[in-house]
């Protein structure tokens, strides 16, 4: 079942001599439970692609359909609510809320949505993430790997259709990086969530179902495994 469809996505920055085409007619789609990686060199446009898919950045043209809904046909406020209910974000620098504990950070999107967190679900996630003992700790009391696990928990708590991860292992060592990818893999398999991950690390693409390469704003679908 198709969850994400990107159609002719273009993003242009600047004008005249400073004009840069970050994305050029990018089109692809993802199925439910699919785990894909986007690779590419720095400045190739992969972060821009992720931002546009997540509704964080308005594309110059093209469409992003999530579960059949055109993201940019929604008004700003509607898009915000849609995002918090259907898209989970994981950032390279974690972006945890320093003033909230591990547990509060994880349930944060639900609280923003005015929903009461499901205790069992929270317990389950904490257990999967290996953060049971740390649930009342503040981010400043955690290691980088633990902080990224909290960020993954936050991305998964609302059971979003799509999880977008922007270089989630960029600040982590190889052991923690492997853990993070395993958790994302598990999310796609166990919870049937679609995961799109940007990474520089080609070794991490072993676990994904599909590899997409962005080069000079153009997307190339490598299918199953990058050689």
């Amino acid at each position: 079942m198709e969850v994400l469809r990107v159609e002719n996505l273009c993003k242009v920055y600047g004008k005249g001599e400073t004009r840069v085409e970050a994305l050029k007619n990018v089109s692809f789609s993802m199925e439910k439970g699919e785990f894909a990686a986007v690779v590419g060199e720095s400045g190739s446009g992969k972060s821009t692609l992720l931002h546009c898919i997540g509704g964080l950045e308005q594309p110059s043209s093209g469409h992003v359909y999530l579960d059949g809904r055109d993201l940019f046909a929604l008004r700003e406020n509607q898009r915000t609510i849609f995002r918090r209910q259907n898209i989970g974000f994981i950032f390279q620098s974690f972006q945890l809320v320093e003033e909230l504990t591990v547990e509060q950070n994880i349930v944060f999107p639900l609280l923003l949505d005015g929903r009461k967190p499901d205790e069992a679900r929270v317990e389950e996630l904490l257990w999967i993430l290996g953060l049971m003992e740390r649930r009342h700790h503040l981010p400043s009391q955690l290691s980088g790997g633990q902080q990224q696990r909290v960020a993954i928990g936050r991305a998964l708590i609302a059971k979003p259709m799509l999880v977008l991860a922007d270089e989630p292992t960029g600040n982590l060592d190889s052991k923690n990086s492997q853990d993070v990818v395993e958790l994302l893999h598990r999310a796609s398999r166990h919870y049937r969530q679609t995961v799109l991950m940007i990474t520089h690390n080609v070794h991490l693409t072993d676990a994904v179902d599909r590899v997409l390469q962005v080069s000079d704003g153009e997307l190339r679908d490598w299918g199953g495994m990058q050689e």
């Binding site: 406020n77 915000t80 809320v97 320093e98 909230l100």
Partner: protein, 782 residues
């Protein structure tokens, strides 16, 4: 870029908004200090000028001293100038006359003229050696005399002194009021004529002006010791000494303490504003300093960078603050000169206040350097790892989590943002609180002003024509005729019936009956306690006066024979006060002119008061005097009215000026502080928006943060502000006039509302700014 410090202006350009907000904060603090100290300086100058105009530019008067003692005092190194001064007929009731007009005579040395700038030689000169006299201006036209003419002074002992006029001097308010002339002659001549006269000041006062740089009271003590003078022989000019900071009078000492407390409060407010701003600015760029460390900058270099950056902000902010503060002082001084041009003629419209400028520079510069120390140290301690870990953004280390059980998560986060860093919370709350503390502390000055300075009442007359024998002898036609004069704005007369035996509410007593016309009834309505004015204005009711040992109410009755047979009248209203006083045991009742005429059969006025238009000249007044005729006493109060207006304007303008500046600074400071606080968390807000925080929730979070600062600021500000108000009120108003302290509800409500309004206003702009920024831009913002 030749050296690493050249990065400072480049960094300022990159962080234009943060840099601008910090500069704005320094500017506001310097503006506050410069304006308040500058205004205080100008107010002191204006008060000093008033004191010199009112009482002369002398510091100590010695009485009953010998010529030898006077000579020794004059030779004292700290004595700048001195003069003998004697006066006869000061109260104009001893029988000295010129052509039948009361005349006060004074004898003084030439130096005295310099000590009394209010007495200016208009024409001719002071005869220091001979027996010539200076005559007051009002006598020139009325006696038709010129310089070198001779005049004859009649003394109560029957002597007739032929005196040659050598010049003319300005009138004084007292002589105008008494409608009297004044004569000034040298001490030698004065003593030759009047040394045996009864007046106590005839030959015994020696005015001394000291150098303003010496400690006058200490010098006076040494003079007293060396010349064996008693306390009774030494009279200080308390007001002037007090304004020079040279008084040991308990009232002045209390005022010095008040000024010191207010000065410390203003300085502290300025320091807190700058410290809070710098703390916030540096805190949000910790990762940048980490980068500098990562690239090889030593801790010392980072600290120097921060300090120089702070000085770079001062480069524009301090001069602008000084300029704005000085401009405000100029505006107030110009207003003062415009409102009371004759009284403040000597006041410089574009005066520079050295004290204001110095305080502004010192407080601005020193505070910036001191406030930069802590962030500089903090920045220098940043680990180089912070730059590379990407995890160096927290404004301050968080030790406690937000309480999401009590509040919604956005509200809880806002509250937590405010309270996360103790230092930031303390500085922000203090900064908010100080606006309230300053406002309440300075508000006490309004009570002080109302007690110490009597404003000109609306019924104050410029000229009064008074029946010489206090009867109703002034024909009403005179009033009607004068009312037609174009220079006369208003004419209102009163008829008096004094000491009429009467039965008041069944008890024997004595009453003074006074008539009012429509203007006076209008002014009296402002002090109506009960009943109505209308019963007296349009009927035959009476207005009673509250107090004076009796309590009359509406319906009280007065039965008396005022001249046309016994009649009973009813009180239709009660006034809290009136401009007249009666003899002890005599009650005042007020009625309409028609009622007065019916009751007494009298038709004329006892007093006719006149208010003049601003363009009325001395010649116009002279013409009115001529119309009044010789059977009346003429009183000219224009000069004393102008002095009263001047004194009130001077004080009121500066007091309200202080309060307005404080209120203005409070608004700007709060708006700027919230904006800075939001800027410090832009990246965090970006991440929150990315994971689904709506604009409304974002605004609520910022509002919760602003509300937390405001709430604690208001609580602390009100508590400390009321304490400061109570303390200052007690040592100034209560100690002098015995008036008990009260909670200044109006001022309290006003400043609390202003702080709350400013905080609400402060939330909008930064929330909208974040909303307008793209989420990606926000996340990547530094």
């Amino acid at each position: 870029m030749k050296r690493y410090l050249d990065l400072i202006p480049i960094s300022a350009k990159r962080h234009r908004r943060q840099s601008l907000m910090t500069r704005l904060c320094i500017f506001l603090a310097v503006f506050l200090v410069t304006a308040i100290f500058g205004m205080a300086d100008m107010e002191l100058r204006s008060q000093r000028q008033q004191a010199i105009m009112d009482g002369g530019n002398w510091h100590i008067a010695f009485r009953d001293i010998t010529e030898e003692q006077a000579a020794r005092i004059a030779a004292w190194p700290e004595v700048k100038t001195s003069s003998w001064y004697g006066v006869v007929n000061y109260d104009c009731d001893e029988g000295y006359t010129l052509s039948g007009i009361k005349t006060a005579i004074c004898g003084a040395d030439p130096a005295w003229m310099g000590m009394f700038p209010a007495v200016q030689v208009e024409e001719g000169s002071f005869d220091a050696e001979g027996s010539g006299v200076l005559l007051t201006e009002n006598a020139r036209a009325r006696l038709d005399v010129q310089v070198d003419d001779f005049i004859q002074l009649y003394t109560p002992d029957g002597r007739v002194l032929d005196l040659q006029v050598t010049g003319f001097v300005t009138n004084t308010a007292m002589l105008d009021h008494e409608d009297a002339f004044g004569l000034v002659m040298n001490t030698q001549t004065f003593r030759s004529y009047f040394s045996g006269d009864t007046a106590q000041d005839a030959d015994s006062v020696y005015y001394v002006q000291f150098s303003p740089l010496c400690r006058i009271l200490q010098v006076v003590e040494s003079i007293k010791t060396e010349l064996h003078l008693t306390d009774a022989q030494v009279f200080p000019y308390g007001k002037l000494l007090g304004l020079m900071g040279q008084s040991d009078d308990p009232l002045m000492l209390r005022l010095y303490l008040t000024a010191a407390v207010l000065a410390v409060l203003v300085a502290t407010a300025g320091i807190l504003m700058i410290a809070s701003s710098l703390n916030s600015n540096i805190a949000q760029r910790i990762s940048f300093f980490g980068l500098l460390r990562c690239l090889g900058a030593t801790r010392k270099q980072v600290a120097r960078f921060v300090r120089l950056e702070a000085l770079n902000w001062c480069k524009t902010a301090i001069p602008l603050g000084l300029a704005a503060g000085t401009a405000l002082v100029w505006v107030l001084c110009s207003l003062l000169v415009k409102l009371s041009p004759t009284y403040f003629a000597g006041m410089p419209a574009f005066g520079i206040s050295g004290i204001g400028l110095t305080c502004g520079v010192v407080i601005g510069l020193v505070t910036v350097l001191l406030a930069a120390r802590a962030p500089a140290k903090r920045a220098a301690k940043v680990s180089p790892l912070c730059a590379v870990s990407g995890n160096a953004t927290p404004v301050s280390p968080v030790r406690r989590a937000a309480n999401t059980r009590l509040f919604r998560v956005d509200t809880a986060l806002g509250v937590r943002h405010a309270t996360a860093s103790k230092k930031n919370f303390f500085l922000m709350v203090s900064s908010f609180a100080f606006s309230i503390i300053l406002f309440l502390a300075f508000n006490m000055a309004i009570d002080f002003m109302h007690q110490s300075i009597t404003p000109l009442r609306p019924y104050s007359a410029d000229l009064s024509i008074i029946s010489a024998d206090q009867t109703c002898s002034i024909p009403p036609e005179l009033g009607q005729h004068l009312a037609e004069d174009p220079v006369v704005k208003r004419v209102y007369g009163r008829m008096f019936a004094y000491g009429i035996p009467a039965t008041i509410d069944g008890q024997e007593g004595t009453v003074d009956l006074i008539s009012y016309e429509i203007n006076q009834f209008g002014w009296a309505s402002g002090s109506l306690l009960e009943g109505s004015i209308d019963g007296a204005l349009n009927g035959n009711g009476l207005l009673a006066l509250y107090g004076n040992g009796t309590t009359r109410h509406t319906g009280s009755t007065v039965t008396a024979d005022f001249g046309t047979g016994t009649q009973t009248l009813t009180v239709s209203g009660v006034l809290s006060d009136c401009p007249f006083q009666s003899e002890p045991g005599v009650e005042i009742f007020i009625c309409s002119e028609e009622t007065f005429r019916t009751l007494t059969g009298q038709d004329g006025y006892t007093i006719l008061d006149l208010q003049l238009n601003a363009d009325a000249t001395d010649a116009d007044v002279e013409a009115i005097r001529t119309q009044a005729g010789s059977g009346t006493t003429f009183s000219d109060d224009r000069r004393s009215n102008s002095e009263a207006i001047g004194a009130y304007y001077s004080f009121a303008l500066f007091v309200y000026g202080f309060l307005s500046v404080i209120a203005l600074i409070a608004v700007f400071n709060i708006v700027n502080s919230i904006s800075m606080s939001v800027s410090a968390r832009v990246r965090q807000y970006g991440a929150m928006r990315a994971i689904g925080m709506s604009s409304h929730q974002l605004m609520r979070m910022v509002a919760a943060e602003a509300a937390t600062y405001s709430l604690f600021g208001i609580l602390v500000g009100c508590a400390v502000g009321l304490l400061a108000n109570w303390f200052l009120f007690r040592i100034t108003v209560t100690a002098n006039w015995g008036i008990p302290w009260y909670i200044p509800w109006a001022a309290l409500g006003l400043i609390v509302l202003l702080v709350a309004f400013s905080a609400a206003l402060a939330v909008r702009a930064p929330s909208q700014r974040i909303r307008r920024m793209s989420i990606v831009e926000t996340i990547h913002a530094e």
